[in-house]
Symmetry: C2
Subunit: 1019 residues, 2 copies
């Protein structure tokens, strides 16, 4: 077979989509990160007009630049972009046909639709869909746009974005793009490789940050000026220029974490206004492309008569199959759960349908409810009807007109001989009434299901649901049909009979579809009881547990074949099992030298990105650090699970190996680049990374963290060696943020810092502390110290900068930061004084952090602490009682809550609490603190109480301990009770009164620093 | 036939060029004015590597924006760009095939290659080629690139740039682009029209000049930074951004005339450095695309044996045909001239070839030398050989060994009896030598022509010649083959025999080619004497006079058919006759309402742009102004001359009508826009138009002109009413520069000013003066005054700003300005004092114009004046004699030169001049001016001379008059001669000597203020 070339693929795709009714457009004339930004997508998907277009878009993503060294990653790649609006009903099938048109035979490859919830915050856009994988390589992004420019789309547009380089690599089974033909005997590398080198160098090293910032500002100002004139396309051009310039700045590492939010906010705002203006204009122009033919509502087919004349109404098996485009793995599980619950509870039970058993199954393409022996007619039931009261129904034991009237109105037939109070009257609601059971015959499923099944489907909820049908097709029920992914067919069979119903523009029948790799052939189901057999015959494994088992066995066998063991975490197994209908595990490998990469990187790439099962070998390697608990080593293999059979398996393997090799090469590139420097060397470059405008660079932040760590060392009671480690860790804390590997995979922040610190020969505890900084609860105390310093700095600074979270908005993750302050302190059980710690943090900020702001931060932290404690299962009143007093010390507060919870559960608590409460309540409103003079006590009871208090005061108590407080109080309870029984506190003599109040105040104050028991229930 | 759509044309062109070995590329990702700027052209045409590419390029030209109102002019149009490097040998034929591939049948249309010397100064690029016209519409630019980025191209690249919108309009025979299909049932207008409106509004009204200037500066700085790092592609990207930003600024009217030069200079410099850097890089990379197959030299075919065995060597007709791609009209004439001269003088005469007659013909496709009855063998001739002197050749009358040696060395055969001094010795060069006539037999043209004809072709020179062959094919003779356009075939026949020779990679034969519209079929010529017959049979009119006659008759007939007369200037007729091989005039028309446009605009569009013959009707319209000499009115018709026959004539007519309609609509748009304002209203906007950085805006210049005009009014002796007109004209002088019509067609500057002034109701003399300002010689005196003011201001200011012309560089046209100062003064015969005028101009400039600079300007003007006078036919010595004295007054100088010329031609001049000269020479070196005392004269002769001088001094003389001076001198000539015969001037007595010198000084000084006669020949 001759090699494919980039240009033949382009020409073929243009022909294909032109033949399928698409307008063929051109790339845009300003740098865009994706074809989505081209107005042929961004603007045209808005509003009601139809739009079908296909075009090439060379897409520029500066931070993907690899100097031409990576086999399939570059700052410029070639997209082919297709927009289908409205959804033609079979866009996935059309797409797969287009792949065949360029020469990709689905039987020879593994084509997978992998959930991908596309989001582009810079243009306020999102959609649901998939990455489409060819042998593990993402070759296309397929999305049902839900919103663009902040505007909900109606109709929804289908976006298909092909990555042409990757398709070319796959078609030619190549190792790298560079030697593949572009066309006319010229290779891709000859056209583009040197450009890649130069542009990478420009974006990473040369681009002048000051000038680019100025450009950004100028573009923004021009965009504003255009919008002010209602010039939407010129405005959009400048938004695109803003976006590209931002990307370059970002690649230069010039954009700080929080500054990024500001940029996005600006761009999002502009994009939204562009979209709004465009929509207004199109409306004014009366939607020129909205031609009659395209707006006419597609009428649902007439649904066949409900009740088949041939059906014998004997119990039979029932099957309901919902055919869908590939569901996300977790949505399969949640859909199964809901379907089972709803079908049993809301249908079978409510309508009294008898059946033997209900099973629900799910694969990416279908959700199935199977009922054994469903009786098609519901059971007869009785409904109680309450009539007139006896007094009205019977007069002297004879039925009245009122009774006859009621009987008639209810359509009841009651023989005369039963018209007696004995037969009809029963006690109800504390009176005597006429009561009669009314017989209700059961419904036929042929009548019931067409009405009820649409609601069954409608009521299934997902984390994210999508629309795909134009509201015009839903007869006023806009946004009424949503699902995880589009529904494409429905099957409902009772025995051999179809129970037709309509939903989402579909009519249920007996036709299901086969496996994707076999081109989803249509398959007729003659009768429900043949369903499993037919599905199995067509290669589909319906039961997820069966799929899991098949995968697990296959993966273990393949791992054993290379003398290894698969890493098989249950979540990954569950996910993979829900990515395929017919699992076929196969072994792939990669070059050993990649094993030199940090394991975190390797595993993260294989498991997280590729859903592969890595393979390791158990070893007894003894390491010199107790912190290093590594006891196994990775092998250069992995298992991937294909959807389909064994045909073309070698091609699939090679494809997957190519992908993983490219990904590792990429990581290798970064790590190798990074290792040219020590971690310490990166630190100064933090100065180029903005944390937040008012709060300075990440270097400024790192320096504040160092100082704050110093202040926290004594507060947290660190040992001398721990303090040394904490200081060093704090010094290097953020350095990895400017390493290339972290810039590339932000999720590795901390991880790479730890790795690089280790390789630099830093103390293991230092490396570990750096690694732990982003973990919710650092396990080491140096790690705890630096993490707290980091989080307190963010809280103090960002609140002072006016960036406190509001409503549901928390762009800087300050809720997480606050939880990250309290949770570790609780888990480590370290007492702390957050008020003081915050004061130290505040003093270091470059902006004033007023007392008021500090109080606000503390209140915010207390709020999180309350949530944490309640999440631990403690009652809100107990938590509140403690937090009212001990919120500055989360560890102490947690201990106190735990203790108080035990006390509250004690059987004698209902005597204990009131006793203490009486002391508090009577003194609560006294402004003055009265002195207690022993000589002023008159009554014996008060003298005894005074003695008890004196005794309690002598007990040693741990600060904040609820136990110590209540253990001190318990012995004085009898005296308290006697006191209140026998002594009048509010005596006429002022001095007597004050002395008694003083005594009770002493008792009440036993809880000082412990709790405010008045917050407790029953106080 | 189904309508064509934009996308089918694109797909067809992509397919066509891919099938012909082109790589298919993509539009560039930053706004470009043309596909040439895409690095796939700009960079790839540089250096020796082959490169064949085709791609779409949506091209952005802000100032072409028409708010979507013009049927085929827009700020964005779609190019399809093809680069063929090296020249494949038949690029025009390939191009014409590609037109057929998109559905353009050459028999149904008029496809013409119209000379266009492409130049892009912003990227220091130029090339020769054509606009290709389809029915009068330019649809393609076809260029042989000679230089790009300041680099000479080798091999030369062929650039073909299709204008797809225009092709679509032509294919669908549409009136406008907007309703034509783009694809998928969507029209072009639906995709682009609203964009056009918005972008036009942005470019003309909204774009912020300050911000755009900042962007330009930032881009430039980034380009520099990239170049400093050797990053050529990123640098080029920023050059492109500079260029687009400049275009937007220009469209906003923010770029002044001279400021433009600065911008261009910067961009040119950057482009050149980009090109240089790219070339260096490719060289370092060892030209990766330079594959062996493509570098192998194409060997010339073996040339057949020179002398045909069958030829009988009797005189026969000879024909030489040079087949070329379409020659520019004027190049045909110059080639004919040279061919005739060279063939007769350098070949026929030099080689003594007998013939009856030589005729030379030319059409755009062929140059033909036809010789009747050429004798194939040259005449025998004799060459004189000079041998030893007689003394050496003969000893005592006997021949010496020296003589025998010489005879032998010369290969002479001399019978013994002639070996005598009488027979052999003759006088030569003042001595006596052996002399012998040597017989030289004539050469055969079969041997001679193959050697000499290449030189014949090589020696033809054109204003602009081009290279098209790679130097690698010229065996070390790089740049050796140039011509006006590529040579594509050669025919040389003597009788029925080919005289094969090689030139420019071609071998001459007997195959010529037919007409372009018939696809240039190959045609065999059996013998020279059949040539004319065959050419005629194939429809080609070889003789330009015949073509002219056919056109003239046809044009007049068509004009008469609409009761009009054609405007048929001989230059246009000559040009049109050289644009076709088979002229076919046809009548077209346009809407009457366009006649409301200024006639200058209409005629300029029809004649200059379209080479149409306009049609007018003689009227006796009497206008109210004596200046308005309009005596005819245009009719809404024109005649266009097609190349070809009458097939498809209607389509051709419609096409041409569409073009002219679009052009008029365009002009109409501008004029209508302009007429919303008065001319006076434009004036303030001159402030936004930079004249030159140091010299301020055009408004500043206009104000200086007003003041200077005021100063010139008395100097030029204007009447009171003329002064009023001049002042008003000066006030409005430059206002039309910011009118839309002039911004669009700069050639209409002044013309539109006159038109708008008239329509505003200004005095006719004011309008006329404005209109005359750019004419070399304004006819009215107010026009003269403002033109002088304008030109003197430019000269004073620009010299002071350091921008005097240097070498061949004169970017501001100061030579023209200086000529424009002297020529009108001469023609009007108005005396002036340029020194004083310049001083007034100098005083108004915002920069200091030192005395030294003023002297420099005067010298510069004098230089031009000298050229003007010499161009009038005066002898240089006469001119110099006058200019040495009278250069500040060109009119006076001209008069003086005219008079002196007459004197110099007098028979007695050779006595007159020496007489006067003696007086001058003897006194010339005297520093002192001696007093003359009549009493000190001694000799009678000196007394008589003194008396003659006294008498002459009494004559009345007009200042500067040569006649008056010489008429005064003539009578004293006898006395002068006698004086010098009889009197010793340098007498011993000092006082006598000084008195005599004083007398002669008086005579010499008669020429003061008239001339310096010492500059004359014979002085």
């Amino acid at each position: 077979m001759p090699k494919s070339s980039l240009q033949t693929i382009i020409l073929q795709l243009q022909e294909f989509w032109a033949a399928h009714g698409c307008l063929i457009g051109q790339p845009y004339y300003t740098q865009v990160g994706a074809g989505t930004m081209n107005p042929a997508t961004f603007l045209r998907v808005l509003g009601p007009e139809p739009w079908n277009v296909g075009y090439v878009e060379p897409s520029i993503r500066p931070d993907d630049g690899r100097y031409g060294e990576n086999p399939n990653r570059f700052q410029q790649h070639t997209q082919f972009q297709v927009i289908l609006k409205p959804d033609p009903g079979n866009p996935v099938e059309l797409y797969l046909q287009s792949l065949e048109a360029v020469g990709i035979n689905p039987r020879q490859h593994d084509i997978r639709l992998v959930e991908d919830n596309w989001e582009q915050p810079a243009i306020s856009a999102w959609g649901l869909g998939w990455e489409i994988w060819l042998d593990g390589q993402e070759i296309t992004q397929f999305t049902y746009f839900q919103q663009v420019g902040g505007q909900s789309l109606d109709p929804v547009a289908v976006e298909i974005t092909y990555g042409l380089e990757r398709i070319l690599i796959a078609l030619n089974n190549a190792a790298s793009i560079w030697d593949e033909p572009w066309g006319a005997d010229v290779t891709y590398g000859e056209v583009r490789r040197h450009d890649e080198f130069e542009q990478s160098k420009y974006y990473f090293e040369t681009a002048n940050v000051t000038r680019l910032r100025q450009m950004y500002d100028l573009y923004k100002a021009e965009a504003e000026a255009c919008l002010a004139q209602g010039l939407v396309v010129p405005a959009h051009d400048y938004v695109l220029k803003c976006s590209h310039t931002f990307n370059v700045l970002d690649t230069r590492g010039a954009i700080g974490v929080t500054e990024r939010q500001a940029f996005f906010g600006q761009m999002r705002d502009l994009a939204r206004r562009v979209a709004e203006t465009w929509l207004e204009q199109r409306k004014e122009q009366e939607y020129p492309l909205l031609k009659e033919s395209q707006t006419s509502k597609v009428k649902g087919q007439a649904v066949a008569a409900n009740r088949p004349s041939t059906f014998d109404f004997q119990p039979a098996d029932f099957v309901l199959e919902l055919g869908v485009e590939e569901l996300p793995a977790k949505d399969i599980d949640t859909a199964i759960e809901q379907l089972k619950l709803f079908f049993e509870q809301n249908i079978l039970k409510v309508y009294h349908l008898k059946y033997k058993d209900v099973k629900v199954f799910g694969t990416p393409r279908r959700l199935v409810v199977y009922v054994n022996d469903l009786d098609p007619i519901g059971e007869t039931t009785f409904v109680e009807k309450k009539g007139p009261p006896e007094s009205a129904a019977f007069k002297d034991g004879k039925p009245t007109q009122a009774l006859f009237g009621w009987i008639k109105s209810q359509g009841l037939v009651i023989p005369d001989k039963f018209l007696t109070p004995e037969d009809l009257v029963q006690e109800r609601d504390g009176g005597r009434y006429v009561v009669r059971q009314k017989e209700v015959p059961g419904s036929s499923v042929f009548e019931l299901f067409p009405k009820i099944l649409p609601f069954l489907i409608r009521d299934i909820k997902f984390d994210k649901s999508m629309r795909w049908l134009p509201s015009s097709r839903l007869a006023g029920n806009a946004n009424g049909v949503t699902f995880s992914r589009p529904l494409r067919w429905l099957v409902t069979l009772l025995g051999a009979s179809v129970i037709p119903f309509e939903y989402a523009g579909l009519t249920a029948g007996r036709t299901t579809r086969g496996l994707r790799p076999y081109n989803s052939p249509e398959i007729e189901i003659p009768a429900a009881d043949k369903y499993f057999e037919i599905i199995k015959k067509n290669g589909i494994v319906l039961d997820v547990e069966e799929r899991k088992a098949l995968i697990e066995v296959g993966v273990r066998e393949l791992a054993a074949a290379v003398n290894g063991e698969a890493i098989l975490p249950p979540e990954l197994l569950a996910e993979v099992a829900n990515l395929v209908e017919k699992p076929m595990p196969l072994l792939g490998g990669f070059e050993k030298e990649f094993l030199a990469l940090p394991e975190d990187v390797l595993i993260s790439v294989m498991m997280k990105h590729q859903r592969y099962f890595p393979i390791e070998r158990q070893t007894l390697k003894v390491t010199d650090s107790t912190l290093d608990v590594q006891r196994s080593t990775l092998l250069p293999y992995f298992v991937v699970v294909r959807n389909g059979d064994s045909e073309g398996l070698d091609l699939v393997r090679q494809g997957n190996e190519h992908v993983v090799r490219a990904r590792f090469a990429d990581a290798n590139f970064f790590v190798r680049e990074d290792l040219k420097y020590k971690l310490e060397d990166f630190r100064p470059r933090l100065g180029t990374l903005m944390f937040q405008k008012k709060l300075g660079s990440m270097l400024d932040k790192n320096e504040r963290i160092e100082k704050l760590t110093e202040a926290l060392v004594p507060m947290l009671g660190l040992e001398a060696d721990e303090a040394v480690f904490a200081r060093r860790a704090a010094h290097l804390l953020k350095a990895d943020l400017v390493s290339k590997m972290v810039v590339e995979m932000t999720s590795l922040q901390g991880v790479m810092g730890r790795e690089y610190a280790r390789r630099d020969g830093e103390a293991p505890a230092v490396a570990e502390a750096i690694g732990e900084q982003y973990q919710p609860v650092p396990q080491t105390r140096p790690g705890l110290a630096v993490a707290l310093a980091d989080r307190l700095d963010s809280l103090a600074g960002l609140f002072a900068a006016g960036l406190a979270p509001s409503g549901t908005k928390d762009p800087f993750g300050l809720r997480r930061a606050a939880i990250g302050v309290v949770q570790p302190l609780i888990e480590h059980g370290i007492n702390s004084d957050l008020r003081r710690a915050l004061k130290s943090a505040a003093a270091l900020e470059p902006v004033p952090v007023t007392d008021q702001v500090q109080a606000q931060v503390l209140e915010f932290i207390t709020g999180r602490l309350r949530v944490v404690l309640m999440d631990m299962g403690f009652k809100h009143d107990v938590v509140d009682a403690i937090l009212a007093v001990q919120s500055d010390n989360p560890a102490g507060a947690a201990r106190a809550v735990r203790q108080l919870t035990v006390w509250v559960a004690r059987p004698d608590w209902n005597t204990l609490l009131p006793g203490y409460a009486r002391c508090v309540r009577i003194t609560r409103d006294q402004k003055e603190k009265f002195a207690v003079k022993s000589e002023a006590f008159i009554e014996a009871a008060e003298k005894r109480l005074f003695a008890a208090v004196e005794k309690a005061k002598k007990r040693e108590r741990v600060p904040g301990s609820v136990d110590d407080f209540l253990n001190a109080f318990v012995p004085m309870l009898p005296a308290v009770n006697e006191f209140f029984d026998k002594v009048l506190v509010m005596a006429e003599a002022r001095s007597v009164q004050e002395n008694r109040l003083g005594l009770l105040q002493r008792i009440a104050s036993l809880a000082d620093g412990i709790a405010d028991l008045s917050k407790l229930e029953g106080f």
